[in-house]
Structures are given as C-alpha cells and as structure tokens.
C-alpha cells in the first residue's frame, strides 16, 4: 500500500521509499523508515497533502506519496 491510497486520519508506518531523491529529502526532515505517519489533510484535486511525522507537519504531492510504501 502506498501513502497516496490512505484515507485522511490513517496512521501508518513507513516501510519503503521508492525514489532516491525523495528518500534524501524525507530523511533529512526526520521522516525515515519505521516512522509512524498520520495523513492529516488532502487538498482539493487530491494534492498536495499534509502528513504528520511526530510533531512536525510536512506537505507532499501525490506522486511523492505514491512512492512511499506504508503498512497499517
């Protein structure tokens, strides 16, 4: 399952990131494998979205969320 297919309010665990550039960016912001992620909001037209990692809020576009494999 990827993050883009989650519903608002879902709490998931990040398992894998499919894109290296994205990995570097997310890692440097403290969003690493094994981290609990909450999908907070999705804007109209399906993107961008806001995720919560610990106490930080981070925005993402859909194609990046699709590259983030998560499990419940």
């Amino acid at each position: 399952m990827n993050l883009a297919s989650c519903k608002i309010g879902d709490q998931v665990t990040l398992e894998k990131i499919l894109d290296e550039q994205l990995t570097v960016q997310l890692y440097s912001m403290g969003c690493i494998i094994g981290e609990r992620i909450t999908l907070e909001r999705v804007a109209p037209f399906g993107e961008p979205m806001i995720i919560r990692v610990e106490d930080s809020f981070i925005s993402l576009r859909k194609n990046d969320a699709e590259n983030m494999i998560v499990k419940q």
């Binding site: 440097s28 912001m29 930080s56």
Partner: protein, 665 residues
C-alpha cells in the same frame, strides 16, 4: 548541485586557524530561530518570519564581548549537509569554503528543541565533521508548554559539546551563550557514529537516527503528542479547509486591500495639506531666488508627492509582517500548490508572488527556496508583474485624477474597482506569462512540494513595528534620495534650455506685455509651459513623444516614464516637479495641476479617461525598475533573462496601453 551520493561525504572542517579574532557561524534547520538569535547578538534587524526559508543569503554582524569584537554570520537554514535548493547551497558552500581561514571559528548550531530528533541530525553531522560546536536548544518556552523534558547535562555528556537552553524571542539564555563563547576551547568530541564511506550513504543517516534515538531515550521525555502541534492541527482544520481555507485567504486579501486603499485616505489627506502649507510658508520665508525655486518647486514638490504615501506603505508592510510571523504563509503555499503547479510554478512560489506586492527585489531573492530550477526561473520572471508598493503612488494619483470619487459601478466605488482590477491584472498576467514560459523552458528535473508547515505563533508586535519602521525608512530615504536627485536634475533640465530660446520667449512676452495694442489674455501658465517646452527636458520629451503619442501620452508623461526607470514612484515626483516649475503661486496639489493640464496645440485636457487608463496599464506591466533588473541578473547568473524580461514586459505594456487607449478614446 551535488548528487545524492554525496550525503555525508562532505569534506571536513577547514583546519588552519590564525587567531585574528573570532567568528560565530549560526547554523541550523530552517525556522529554528537563527535570525532571532542573530538579532539578539548583534542588535541588528534581520528579517524574521515563521516559515522555513526566510533567510536566503549570508548576513554578517558584530558582537562585542568585553574587549573583543566577534564577527557573527547568519546563514540560511538547512536540514542537512546536502543542499536541495539555492538557499541551502549558500550555507553549504560557506561551511566547506577552505579558503576562509583568517579567523578562529565557532559554529553555533541552533536547534528547535521542541522537535529535537529531527534537529539533531544536522547537529551530529557537524560534530562528526569536527566543526568546533556549541549547541543552542532554542524554543525552550515551547518545550515547557509541551511538557517535554530535556536533560541538558545528559545531552552535553552524550554529544560531547556545550549545550545551552534558550528562548531567543525573549533573549533568555543569550548571556549564558556569550559567557560560553568567551571561555570556549575546542576539544574534539567523539564521533557520534562511525561513517562508512563504502556503505550506501543513506544508511549513514539511518545509523545516525538510530544513535539519536538512543541518545534521546536517555535525555528526553515527552508525555504524548506536543500541545502546540495539537493546537496547530485544530487551527489548520479551518485554515487549510478545502473550501473555508480559500474563502479565508480571499477575505484576508480583501481586508488588506481595503485597509491600504480606503482607510488610509484620511492620514494621506492630512499629510498632503501639511506639505502645501509648509511649501508655501517656506517659499515665503526664504529669500527669493534660484535656491528658493529649487527647494520649493524641485525638492519639496518631489518629496511631498511621495511622503503622502507613507500610510499606505506602512499598512501594507504591517499586514505582510503579520502574515509572515504567524505561520500562515506556509498554509497559503499549501492551498495554492495545485493551481500554481498547472502554471509551471510551485506552492512555494506564492511567497515571492505575495512578497512582490511589497517589492520585487527581496521577493525574487526568496525564490531561492524553490529547488526546481525551472519553477524558480518562472517565478523570478513573473514576480515583477505583481503590482509592487512603488506602483501604489502612481495608481493612486492617476485613479484620483481620471475617475471622479463619487462614481459608482454596480453599487461599488469605481475608483476602488479600478484599483482592484489593476492588482488582478498583474496577477493574471503573471500566471499567463508563466503558462507561456512553461512550454518554452525545458527541464528534466523533477518537481516536489516538500515543505514543513511550522506551528502557528502569535505575531510579536515589536517585530511587526520594527518591520514597518524599517520599511517606511527605506521607502522614504532610498526612494527619497533618488527622488531628490531626479528632482534636482529635472528642475535644472526644465529651467534651462539649449541656445537662447528661453530668453527669446521671455523677451517675446515682455514685448507683448508692453505693447498696448495686444490683449493681455496670455496667462502665466502659458508662458511657463512654453518655456518648459523650450527647455532641455522639453527637448528630450519632444524627441520621444512620437513613439508614445499612440498611447495617448504627451512629452511630460514621456519624461516621467524615463525617470521612472530609477524607481517607479519617481513618476509622482517628476510630475510634481514638471508641473511646479514656473508656477508662481504653488497653491495647488499635483493632482489639481495635472487635472488642469491641457495640450497647448488643441486645448484639450491631457488626462482624459483614455490617457489615464492607458498610463495605468503601462505602469502595471512595464519593468521600470533598475533594482529589479540588477537582482535578476544576480539571481539568474547572466543578462539573458533580465533582458528578455525587460523586452517582454515593455512590449506587453506598450501594446496593452495602445489597445486600452484606442478602446477608450
């Protein structure tokens, strides 16, 4: 830009230290409070705002510690030592610059203690690269509010560097930091992790977070999720709501608009009258002569034209400062990303675009935070189309001139509608231009919108006040300097002429006056305007008049367009000077003088509705700003884009004005 492979393979800290003084480098994650601390240390007033990417260039200041003077360097925030965008690159390149070894350096890392884990990544990277480090744990007030507990001594022990708790907003902990700097003696800390060059570099980051978690397990404790994050979440339920979020945003824009263009009229009237009274008093009090004329007709007329706009400038910057300080701007980025993406821009572009309503120069610099090169270039290219504060005086004057105040359209005040239409026009032109460029500029680079949304904070009124004060000061003195210089040059150019034409006119009128057979219908105004036409300024204006005639402009407007290249607000000063020269009783405002102006050949009014609208459109679109051209040269690294921008916006202005003039006349 570095490839991802280079994560953590940055060369180590510069080694040689000659001791000719000390330098403090303020480094840390975006929005952690570096500039706030910088201001507290140096007494300067660097821009502060509650969103990541406020500081986009290196700033230097000075700190006095006893006898010693230390250099303090504020750097753009960065999440790690892999730069993602131009602003992070500034920090990265400064840190690895091996040539800078003139002073002993201490790196003061400012970490947001309320999200310690993420902030410690950069801290541990810096420690492992053997930079002499002091760790500042900022935002301790928020840590307290969240009931998070941090064992400072434990952290010091685990990391092997001095740790100082702080609240940079209130200046708490600053004196402790100063003391620590005075006694600082670098002892290399043990490596936080063993780096493995051969391993996938991302693994090092994973190892690092593993170690950070171990450290935090011993030194940090929190009861459940942070309170500030919870309240931010609640506020965001409204502010980032799919419907209400946009409604609120439009309402805020409307409110700002109302304040600037409606509430401010009262103080503006007072200032205008004050200047008239003062000018007349000065004209009477000083001895007659050239100096009197220069001061009253040249300088004072030019300055008075600009001082009345202070209330509008102050209000504009007040609102911008409040928006910046609360954290709301990041939400506007979130709300607008989808729309802007379709135009080849990015949600982050909204910060330069909104900033462009104040001034395009810092706005264009703030586009550094956009990591995608194409999106950044497009943002830089279209930002000057947004109506900036320098257009406010031009718009206000011209609208008042050609649209009667009482006129209504569909129950709304027409002046207000036209003003709003000009702003919308600028915005629409910006988006349209981006759309065109989107197909023209090619890139392989992927585009992201990965941005941290900071917690909401109350604006600090002192900061808002300082911003207003500084911006008004810059507006007055920077614009004032140019206006005084232009006014003086212009006054000379329009008071003297080539050859002896000016004298010839004077003689002609003297003869007429003495000749009793002639009717004395010639007014002072006519003499003055004939002399003005014979002056140097008149000659220059007449030379360009044919080119702008089709737009409905006369030669005086032509001169204003030329002088406006120094800065747009010079338009008002130029008009003031051109219409004041030779005006014996300086009793009317520029607006009234311009309203009375007629074409000498036909006797028709100069400022008709058609000319007024045409000129408004011209100022909305033309890139008449040297400072903008200069910053675009700097930011794009060459002349190609600024020249393209100049030509494009010039052509847009010319043809749009032509169209408008033809339609309305």
């Amino acid at each position: 830009m570095l490839s991802n492979k280079q994560l953590e393979t940055v060369s180590e800290a510069p080694q040689i230290k000659k001791s000719s003084g000390k330098r403090l480098l303020l480094v840390g994650n975006p929005n952690s409070g570096k500039s706030t601390l910088f201001n507290a240390l140096t007494g300067l007033n660097q821009r502060i705002g509650n969103f990541p990417g406020v500081t986009v260039e290196k700033k230097t200041g000075q700190l006095k510690l006893g006898q010693e003077k230390l250099e303090v360097v504020d750097l753009p925030g960065t999440y790690s030592l892999v730069p993602r965008s131009e602003d992070e690159k500034v920090t990265y390149e400064y840190l690895i610059d091996q040539n800078r070894n003139d002073k002993e350096e201490i790196v003061v890392i400012i970490a947001d203690a309320s999200s310690l884990k993420r902030n410690l990544l950069l801290v541990t990277q810096m420690i492992d690269l053997e930079y002499p480090t002091i760790l500042v744990l900022n935002m301790m007030d928020i840590v307290e509010r969240n009931k998070q507990k941090i064992d400072i001594a434990g952290l010091e022990r685990e990391l092997g560097v001095p740790v100082i708790p702080m609240n940079a907003r209130l200046g708490k902990g600053v004196s402790k930091l100063k003391t620590r700097i005075e006694t600082f003696d670098y002892i290399p800390a043990p490596k936080v992790i063993e780096r493995h060059e051969e391993k996938n570099q991302l693994k090092n980051t994973v190892d690092r977070f593993k170690r950070i978690k171990e450290i935090l397990a011993k030194t940090y404790h929190a009861d459940g999720p942070a309170k500030t994050a919870e309240s931010t979440r609640k506020i965001d339920k409204i502010f980032t709501h799919s419907v209400w979020g946009f409604v609120i945003f439009l309402f805020i824009l409307f409110l700002i608009f109302q304040a600037i263009f409606s509430w401010s009229t009262y103080p503006m009237d007072w200032i205008e009258n004050g200047f008239l009274v003062f000018g007349n008093w000065l004209g009477g009090a000083l001895p007659e002569g050239i100096l009197n004329d220069l001061l009253v007709e040249g300088v004072l007329a030019g300055l008075g034209g600009i001082v009345i706009f202070i209330p509008q400038i102050a209000l504009l910057f007040m609102f911008i400062a409040i928006l910046e300080d609360t954290g709301y701007l990041a939400r506007v980025s979130y709300l607008t990303d989808t729309v802007l993406k379709r135009f080849g821009l990015n949600g982050r572009s909204i910060i330069p675009l909104l900033g462009g309503a104040a001034c395009a120069v810092p706005a264009i610099m703030s586009a550094r935070t956009i990591s995608n090169k194409k999106e950044r270039l497009l943002t830089i290219f279209v930002t000057p189309l947004i109506s900036c504060s320098a257009r406010i005086p031009v718009y206000t004057l011209l609208i008042a001139l050609v649209i009667p105040a009482e006129k209504q359209l569909l129950g709304f005040n027409l002046q207000g509608i036209v003003m709003m239409a000009l702003y919308l026009l600028g915005f629409v032109a910006a988006l349209g231009t981006a759309m065109l460029l989107k197909y023209w500029v090619k890139t392989e680079e992927r585009s992201h919108f990965i941005m941290e949304l900071p917690i909401y904070r109350m604006p600090r009124w002192k900061n808002v006040g300082m911003t207003i004060y500084n911006k008004v000061k810059v507006f007055l003195f920077e614009a004032g300097k140019i206006i005084i210089a232009v006014s003086i040059v212009l006054w000379v150019l329009s008071s003297y002429g080539p050859g002896n034409k000016m004298e010839a006119i004077e003689q002609k009128y003297e003869q007429i006056e003495q000749d009793p057979s002639q009717e004395l219908s010639l007014t002072q105004d006519q003499i003055a305007s004939e002399k003005l036409e014979a002056s140097y300024a008149g000659h220059i204006g007449k030379f360009i008049e044919p080119a702008i005639r089709p737009l409905g402009f006369d030669w005086k407007i032509g001169i204003s367009i030329i002088t406006s290249f120094a800065a747009r607000e010079v338009f008002v000063g130029t008009m003031a000077t051109l219409y004041s020269v030779g005006d014996e009783e300086n009793t009317t405002s520029i607006k009234e003088k311009m309203a009375r102006a007629t074409h000498p050949s036909t006797g028709e009014k100069v400022y008709t509705k058609a000319t007024g609208y045409s000129l408004l459109i011209f100022y909305a679109f033309a890139l008449q700003c040297m400072a903008t051209v200069a910053i675009v040269v700097k930011e794009t690294g060459g002349w190609k884009w600024p020249i393209l921008q100049l030509v494009y916006m010039g052509a847009l202005a010319y043809f749009a004005s032509l169209l408008v003039f033809q339609v309305f006349s």
